[in-house]
Symmetry: C2
């Protein structure tokens, strides 16, 4: 394990901070040095647990002076290695900064420290009939600061947009240990470039988010959950166009292929509500404005041949059963085989062509591979899972998928897509960044990084090398 | 008139661009050197009219090499002097770049050149039942590039948010003449800092927006228009809280005081629908989800004493009459007196205290002044108009309001507000920027400007001096 902490730095920390501020306990280093990826070996030199923004600011000023690299650490549920400390860095954990202020009911806002857990924020707001509509599977562990630093997506993006849209104010500590209070709790503030936006989605490479004023929205009304069977991706997209014009407010439009359903049925023993199998399935959740109009719309889908089968959940338990088909996919793929995962996005209009070209490429080059496709297709977001063929050695499979990724990313680029829709770049995807960002963009990203963090102490080596 | 165009630069332009590319015609210099403010004397050296991004890129590379300052110019409807060329700059007009591509109906997007007029975009999309929900009085002249460069607000922000939310992709030319294609038409793209956001709202000081992919939304359903009478600002805000929880989707929540109504009645001879006068009025526009529930909600407002009077327009012409009361304010203030205008925003929760303290300060220091307050109060946005007292000389009034502004801005700062809610900073407000941005923020803004535009050729002197 590399140790990059100079003695003078450690002395200054020991003198200037509480006794329990820093740990070098091996089990804690293991724990706080990694996220949900398991590719890199965690190897931080120490973990700091500040309680206040003032402590974060003093710590960063010291780190900058002593050139100590810092990895900010939230709930560590990331899937791209953005919070991994594998090179002797100091981990700055926000774990102790969990304060939530009372909900402000006139402005529909709440100010919280960055370490507040996403689900705790939901609970804090729900009693007032409000929510912070940033929602995904890991919300029980993920923290607000991490949500913002990765501009988190999730299952409600089609209705509510990304995390960026729900952040009114940010408190950020710069690489030099200065505290920025950005935008307070203002809806409108047209006073030069919006610095908030720089830090949202920059994975801790430009500043450390310590507090945020979150914008809230009323809890949604009763949701209808539908499952439709359609022949192929083209039909999924035709139905999507209709759904967006329908008398309802979409909150989810998710799709999966027959291969995903087969794995779910094999692993979870769940039943499909349909008699006949179909190429693709769509799980749609929506708030109907008018029950009669929704019924009429549903009928017209069958009449016009837009779906081959369909069902509307008649009870909350039926709704859960339908959702389970979609939500069990990831788990079922891992339980019944070895998936190699990618998380890409395309312009919605480019999805059909992309999927069919991807299919053709894989059919030709890797005819024995099973591709399990699913995702937030309403946002253009596809999860592409290549399943290891029975009988192929794991090492050979990993080598071959590594070889296959550039082919896929080339197609993503060709169709104007992104190699990382919502997981971020971190360490895992940095080698492929140029498939989604041009040389001119990369140059500007590096210029910004050098201007704001000239000593390269903030999450160095993440996203790109300076 | 200063002339900062070197001979070598002019020669290069003459050789490398079409004959009608540049004009130095005095009437054109007058026209293209100013926006809707009338404070500075327009004095550009020349106006360039590129037709393509490639021309913009070559021009900027030349400007950078020859240190020629450039003022980007859209529809010139700005109210802060952001598009004013008063120091011999080269004006870069986007007037010829008005191309709009066909509406993309699967993704609900449209790609346009920056010079497309806002209202033309609305018309282009309306035939498909879609709209780009950026809407304000000057939409018949303003251009998409200017809307984005100023992150325009307007009358629909409470429902749709600011312009920032409706920009999927941006094509930007940098100070060095490089073309950036940012984000294409992706909803999700988590691949490092989102450079789009830097250019949105930066008033042409960091790059020139040449094209954009706009996100569209279905045209709204039938709107109900209400007018309510309430005693004071506190009651306006109490009603706002109720309205946001009501069974309707707000698209406007505007308020004005009795002083505004009196001026409108004097000038436009419009009738108030109410018998008794009241301290404040609220114009509310909303899409009701359920007519019966809306009726019931309306009744409860009276029962609970939340309004002293109220009316719901029963026809489109009645709706227009109610809107006319609000929309005639600005014109009526100017027609019946001399207003000194400010456009500030506050956290919604701070509006009541701010208004009452502002009132107290003005009462004490300037007892003979009439303050006409109105604005998009649902967004925390107040238009504060100080009316020149009868009999006071104009010069004295202007001197005294100049003296009064810092007092008001001090109150804005105290309550966490912004000195420019939607108009921007440009030239008019740059002396007051420090009331809304801290020294650390200003330092970071300068760092960014120096990093991206080291020769300070892009709209120099706007927002702040480097």
């Amino acid at each position: 394990m590399a140790d990059v902490l100079p003695e003078a730095f450690l002395r200054a920390v020991a003198e200037g901070f509480p006794a329990d501020f820093l740990t070098r306990e091996p089990s804690e280093l293991q724990e706080y040095g990694r996220d949900w990826t398991r590719v890199h070996t965690p190897a931080p030199s120490a973990v700091a647990f500040p309680r206040t923004t003032e402590e974060v600011a003093r710590l960063l000023a010291l780190c900058d002076a002593h050139r100590v690299p810092v990895v900010p650490s939230g709930g560590r549920t990331g899937l791209a290695g953005g919070a991994v400390a594998a090179r002797g860095e100091l981990v700055l954990s926000l774990r102790r900064m969990t304060r939530m202020e009372p909900v402000e009911l006139l402005g529909n806002t709440v100010r919280v420290q960055a370490g507040a857990v996403t689900e705790a924020v939901h609970q804090h707001c729900a009693e007032h009939g409000l929510t912070w509509p940033v929602d995904f599977a890991s919300k029980g562990s993920s923290q607000v600061g991490g949500n913002i630093a990765t501009n988190a997506g999730g299952v409600k993006v089609i209705r509510y947009g990304l995390t960026r849209q729900w952040v009114l104010g940010l408190q950020v500590v710069t690489a030099q240990g200065k505290v920025l209070e950005l935008n307070g709790s203002l809806e409108k503030n047209n006073t030069g470039a919006d610095l908030r936006q720089l830090f949202i989605g920059s994975e801790g490479t430009l500043g450390i988010i310590t507090e945020a004023t979150l914008k809230l929205t009323p809890l949604p009304g009763k949701q209808d959950v539908f499952l439709f069977a359609v022949p192929d991706v083209a039909a999924v997209l035709r139905l999507f166009r209709e759904a967006r014009r329908a008398p309802l407010l979409l909150s989810a439009y998710e799709f999966f292929t027959d291969k995903c359903l087969a794995r779910v049925q094999r692993h979870r023993k769940l039943r499909s509500p349909f008699e006949a199998p179909s190429g693709c399935y769509v799980l749609m959740e929506a708030e109907g404005k008018d029950a009669a109009a929704v019924e009429e719309w549903l009928g017209s889908l069958f009449e016009r041949g837009l779906v081959t089968d369909g069902t509307l959940a008649q009870s909350p338990s039926q709704a859960s059963e339908l959702w389970a088909l979609r939500e069990s996919i990831s788990e079922s793929l891992s339980a019944t085989g070895l998936p190699h995962k990618n998380d890409v996005s395309l312009p919605v209009a480019g999805l059909e062509a992309f999927c069919s070209e991807l299919d053709a490429v894989f059919r030709e080059r890797y005819p024995d591979w099973e591709i399990a496709l699913f995702g937030h297709i309403g946002d253009g977001n596809l999860h592409i899972n290549i399943m290891k063929p029975e009988g192929m050695e794991k090492a050979e499979f990993l080598a071959r998928t590594k070889q296959a990724d550039p082919t896929m990313f080339e197609l993503v680029r060709k169709h104007g897509g992104s190699i990382s829709a919502e997981h971020g770049i971190g360490l895992l995807k940095k080698d492929y960044l140029s498939y989604s960002r041009s040389p001119a963009e990369l140059e500007m990203l590096r210029t910004l990084k050098r201007a704001l963090d000239p000593n390269n102490i903030l999450n160095p080596g993440k996203i790109f090398d300076v």
